[in-house]
Symmetry: C2
Subunit: 180 residues, 2 copies
């Protein structure tokens, strides 16, 4: 994987795809599937929502670290299945034949099979709403990854795959941050 510029990491989350979040709990790694995410401004700062019913939540609160991994649509069935079981019962990396790679700044692993991986430090937790706030500290892209289409949860068990791309850069140019 190649280093990816931190100031562009928000472009993986802004379209609202289904993501994977990896955590480390001692020597154990876990993964959760997540759709409740949000970009906070044009910065490498993000929010996501989860709660104590989720096995990953304990590791997030203890380590204050995670990796946000961006799966493409060829991984959709695996990603949905990861969300349908608990790390309390299974080792998800083994069960779903995914490869943990050592991250640079966090104990949580990168997921080799994903298109991109964003190492994050959790900087705040709004307990009342279950919202975690995190800063990206390093990002990686697999530039040989052929499939680039992401997919989005509807919330009823169906998903929408990325379709055509349209360009309104000229209309937005004054609002875009430098270098994006």
């Amino acid at each position: 994987m190649k280093a990816f510029p931190l100031n562009k990491t928000f472009t993986f989350l802004e379209p609202g795809p289904v993501i994977l979040v990896s955590t480390a709990c001692g020597d154990d790694f876990n993964i959760m599937t997540l759709s409740w995410t949000m970009v906070l401004d044009f910065t490498p700062r993000f929010a996501f929502m989860t709660g104590p019913w989720n096995y990953s939540c304990k590791a997030l609160l203890e380590n204050k670290e995670c990796v946000i991994a961006i799966p493409t649509v060829d991984m959709a069935e695996t990603v949905v299945s990861i969300g349908a079981c608990s790390g309390a019962e299974v080792n998800k990396f083994e069960k779903f034949k995914l490869t943990p790679l050592k991250a640079k700044f966090v104990g949580a692993p990168l997921i080799k099979e994903c298109y991109a991986n964003i190492e994050c430090k959790i900087v705040d937790y709004i307990e009342k709403h279950g919202i975690f706030i995190m800063d990206a500290v390093s990002a990686w892209i697999d530039d040989r990854h052929k499939e680039k289409r992401l997919f989005h949860a509807i919330g009823d068990g169906s998903f929408i795959v990325d379709g055509e791309k349209i360009n309104y850069r000229e209309i937005m140019i004054a609002k875009l941050p430098d270098g994006v």
Copy 2:
């Protein structure tokens, strides 16, 4: 427009599309374009992020009400253009030939041209992060709206249109809330 069940409103936001947010400021209505949104659990509770640089922010803080309107891809150029100008300078409903309709429970107007409209009461504001938390109190759908594809911001001036739909309901069935 027809009433739409509140417990399914999250299915418009969970896929992460670009949305419009309407507000009322006295007799004046305003609209902003937004992509930084998040579903909070399987409830009609949502979050979005904006800040004081945004003209709509004052109305959100004062009235604690808004309408989340869901535009389809045939409105994309209008929606992007709405985001590129300020309500401090133009009346966006007039400029973009959009029709405000009276909402049931909030002073902010529905937008007739949108596929769906969700009336929201703001229940919390996390000033430190610019995050507004809101509950849907009423929702409407234009069931004669032919175009149903939503679109998603990448953040660099380009946008991704909804493509094919895939179904993993069987894998997720135990995790889905009743009636969704």
